[in-house]
Symmetry: C2
Amino acid sequence: MLPLKSVALLLVLLASAPAPDEGQWLPEQLLAMDWEALRARGLELTRDEFWHPEKGGILSATVQINGCSAALISPEGLAITNHHCAFGAIQRNSTVEKNYIEEGFVAASREEELPAHGIVLRVVRKIEDVTAEVHEAQAAAKTDLERYQAVQQAQERIAREAEQSAADTECQVSSFFNGRKYLLYYRTRIPDVRLVAAPPRGIGEFGGETDNWMWPRHTGDFTLLRAYVGPDGKPARYSKQNVPYQPKHWMKVSGKGVKEGDLVMILGYPGRTERYLTSVAVASRQENQFPARLDIYTRLIEVMEASAAGDPERALAISSTIKSLANVQKNALGMVKGLPRNEVVRRKLEEEQEFSKWVAADPERNARWGTVLDELLALDREAAVFETHDLVLGTLLRYCPLVSMVMDLCYAAEEGAKPEEDRDRGYSDRQNRRRRRGFASPQVSGDLETVEKPVMGIVLDHSPALPEGGRLGGFDDLAQGSSDVGAMIERLYGESEMTDPEARVALFDAGFDAIRESTDPMVVFARGLASDLRRTRLRNRASAGRRLVVGARWIEAQEAWRGKAFYPDANSTLRISVASVKGYSPFDGAWYVPHTTLKGVLAKNTGEPPFNSPPALLAAARQDLGRFASPELGDVPVCFLSDGDTTGGNSGSPVINGKGELVGVNFDRVFENIPGDFGWNADRSRNVSVDLRYVLWLLDKVMPAPQVLKELGF
Amino acid sequence: MLPLKSVALLLVLLASAPAPDEGQWLPEQLLAMDWEALRARGLELTRDEFWHPEKGGILSATVQINGCSAALISPEGLAITNHHCAFGAIQRNSTVEKNYIEEGFVAASREEELPAHGIVLRVVRKIEDVTAEVHEAQAAAKTDLERYQAVQQAQERIAREAEQSAADTECQVSSFFNGRKYLLYYRTRIPDVRLVAAPPRGIGEFGGETDNWMWPRHTGDFTLLRAYVGPDGKPARYSKQNVPYQPKHWMKVSGKGVKEGDLVMILGYPGRTERYLTSVAVASRQENQFPARLDIYTRLIEVMEASAAGDPERALAISSTIKSLANVQKNALGMVKGLPRNEVVRRKLEEEQEFSKWVAADPERNARWGTVLDELLALDREAAVFETHDLVLGTLLRYCPLVSMVMDLCYAAEEGAKPEEDRDRGYSDRQNRRRRRGFASPQVSGDLETVEKPVMGIVLDHSPALPEGGRLGGFDDLAQGSSDVGAMIERLYGESEMTDPEARVALFDAGFDAIRESTDPMVVFARGLASDLRRTRLRNRASAGRRLVVGARWIEAQEAWRGKAFYPDANSTLRISVASVKGYSPFDGAWYVPHTTLKGVLAKNTGEPPFNSPPALLAAARQDLGRFASPELGDVPVCFLSDGDTTGGNSGSPVINGKGELVGVNFDRVFENIPGDFGWNADRSRNVSVDLRYVLWLLDKVMPAPQVLKELGF
């Protein structure tokens, strides 16, 4: 245990700490901060106005829609999120005649609001700490794998029980600090969400891939939705009879904007960060994972583009696939460039040395945490062996459907040979019968020549470089000691019967013994892959179970060492980032200012996608700046920068001023901040928001929606 | 004449005008400025300290070396200019064993200073106004061509007479404002210049083509030279007995640098600007000349690079050619992008309308200037027809030596048929005999297949688009109504005897009548080109003669209309630009700060050219910032921006602070300022200088030259 004096000191430190701009804080953590320091920076809300664990507060107006965040901004259930978060719903409402993606959409009245099928809106009502209960469940576990499973089951059980206790409630238990803390979230789930207004692609996606992850930015990345409930006020599936949802809390929209230096808070549901990694783990990502990912995704894009050469229909069909590949590729590029630049590994190493000295200096500390760093480093070294392996295997499973199917055939046949109760989930007799129908389908890989084989080439190119313990299962059998990838592919597809559906069904029916004895090159390879996948799954679960012990102690030791509050890694739960409107230096000799303006839109506009501003915008920008222009900038602000701590999942996050009014909608972060997932950096961690004044100007001048402006109080 | 009141008003305006940051002012103009306003900005020098038309001043330390500027910075004739200005001299001193380009050079003592053969240093001693004399000479001319010739002859005569009046003096008469003013320059010409210190290419050319015309910049673009004279103190050819030149005026070097907002002056010999063009002239350059130039130079670079593929020796030999082509190409790109962005044509049009209204509003003005704008526009419309023609013809003459030679053969034969006294200069019998020997040389175009034919392809591609009156002579005969360039080239080179030296000599000997009757395709084409060249030369002279009248009246009218002093277009004479250290916004959302630092060098360094910092620099930058670091920046400043008005020829220009001390050496301007040749722009006109603190730090820590630092007072 910590000496009492240290504990007391720690509590004092926690209570008096001013909220730093680094951190994706839990609501309870923010309430524990030095509120006076926040008031000095411009916060006017009281703790209770901001958030009460039982009653909610302005923070409750921050909702989750699918993988994104959003804000409720009127008493009539109006919500704002990013255009890219609502993209699917806009697309599903579009036809060739009414193409809302290209043309944009504005509902002239409530009746015209379109069902945004596929979008579900979740409002957090209450948060409870259930750490003790989960820890109790895990105490009896004897192995890492048992521990992992016990915790999974406890989280599931607690959530289901809580759902019984309240009507119209969806519950979830989330784990923090490698299982050091568990919180139970009570949420209202609203499945009837409608489309109110979305800008044309030439605004909502202005700049496209070119500007993605970049500053300066000129994207009007917003869409307005409305939540509907049954006439009784309770969540209900879509129905004409449904009425607008009346939230307990909603945010007022400000038309006044923020200036450089102003306090802002970014509220939302960040998805995933890895801030407490060891030097070994970051080094492995920097040296192995991200370079491999960059190469693989660059080549995947080339394969996809080549597969659609001269085929405009296919080009259209795969455009969103390419968009998402390009997003991962640019992220990987940012990591490859930014991790060394930020010297994350060096800093981690220095910290680990300091930490080790601090532990060694005190017998009590030594007894408690003397081994924790070494244990964690050992886990990370083990994980490093498999990091690129998992990426390569994942690429194969996703883009080589024929080989993946044969691998699944091998896996299912092996499971099928066991009694049903001993099998992995998903391999019951009933499920295997459905699988068998799939094996019989002639059309497994429609793009065998143009996609599967080239991607297999990428996979096989990367396989020889995988470290000894982390080779791809089946690869050595396929390679037969040669490095001629062309020959491997020829053997794999040219000498296999598995391209024939009947042969696949016959093999499956023949059972696992037949598979084990097969010399068909694809079966041999797939058999190896199936064993590999089995080992990978078990290894990952056991590793997660081990980390529930070691990782939690690591955080505990870190808190004791640093004597400060820690925010947990992002895990798609509700968080708060405290920030300032602030520019940054992308490189020596340059400073990025924190606002862009309509002038910049005009300068970027080429008339061709992704820089094709609609004529209505061009006309209004030249003639009619109107009431939402900033006097300081002499123009309508378009986007702004702040040093918020954000990541994926913060898309659509409300950005509020000190009064709790909405001033922006977060939608990206800057290129130099891509490695921010591994560590916040005061000089370069900047998030990008669309300025609410731009949204209001668009609703006023370009895609007129007077009824919406009225509802928002303008 | 102007009404007296206007003249008086004008003089008042001139005398009291504060020196604006726009303008490449003549020394006499700067002396006429509001000196108090300059003192308020930080100038501490008196008028006499700065410049006296008879006695000189600090400005006299600004010297000219070949096409560049330089500064005398010690009483022992030490001079500083750009690395790229001294490049040829460094190269000529280099061998494979002692490669001063790659390794840099520092003379450990005076004895080790190397002759910089090819470099001549010129010091302006005195300037006289000779306008009346030239105007008198031109008064009798009856035609535009006569006027042109009379002025040329008068300038030549006055200069030669002045040279007789003083020993060791070189004189030149320069024309300003289209011949509205003529100044006679007395200069000391010093032919013995030596190399004192030059950084390695990895400093002096750091960033290479990539960074050329760009900010942020990290180039240490400087070289130290020393002027030598005979033991009697008079200019002399190189000799071991020569001694360091002791200039009457030299600049003190400051180690303290300048900060954002500080006054600086850029002194030097800007080469060519066109600030007083009409809307028609700028539009023609924007729409015709620069796009054609961009295309031609882009393709010339491709041809050159392809011609050296797989041949490293040739690649090395043509690297400086490619460098200079790339420089023109990037300039053209800057024009193509920047002229529309700066809306130069629109502004010119508006000004011309305003001017026309002002003239029309007053009968006296109308009588005097009622037709001047129309006359000028008519001249510019005529010139526009030939603008791209001249570019295309020039490309052919420069890069297609065989066809050029045959064209010269035709031209010379036609001249040769006249009595010697009626011929164009350069076509005497003696000169034609030398020519004939050239025609007999077998090795005219060593790169016929790899360079001449591809370049001819570029020329012929551009020919059909030339306007009706400005077609390339001989093209229609060659094209024979087809647009098949491949076929034209096949005909031109494949069906001609002119590839055979004996056939060329025989044709030349046969005389002009034989040429006129030849049906050899290359002779037919070359005959057309020769007539074209003849017409082009005459047209350009006549046009220059016409502009001596119209252009001068245009400036006069402009002065009367605007009521302010005008600076003349750059013409390689000594000028002063008054400026401030200042950043700029290259695009919406970004601000370029006015200083770069060593940190930026380290960030750009890749170890590969052009970003290969020498190891000594890397080591010193990491460990030893020393006494020349800026406390404000916490680093050694490398380059800085100011809003100086500069152009080509300002390379090597001294940049002085308010005390007249050297703080920088100008070497480039920013990409957004390329169209500055057509009009200064307060938002984007920025010149780039190497910070003297970087130079001193390099001489202190990286390429140690303690004796030089001592000579400079450190």
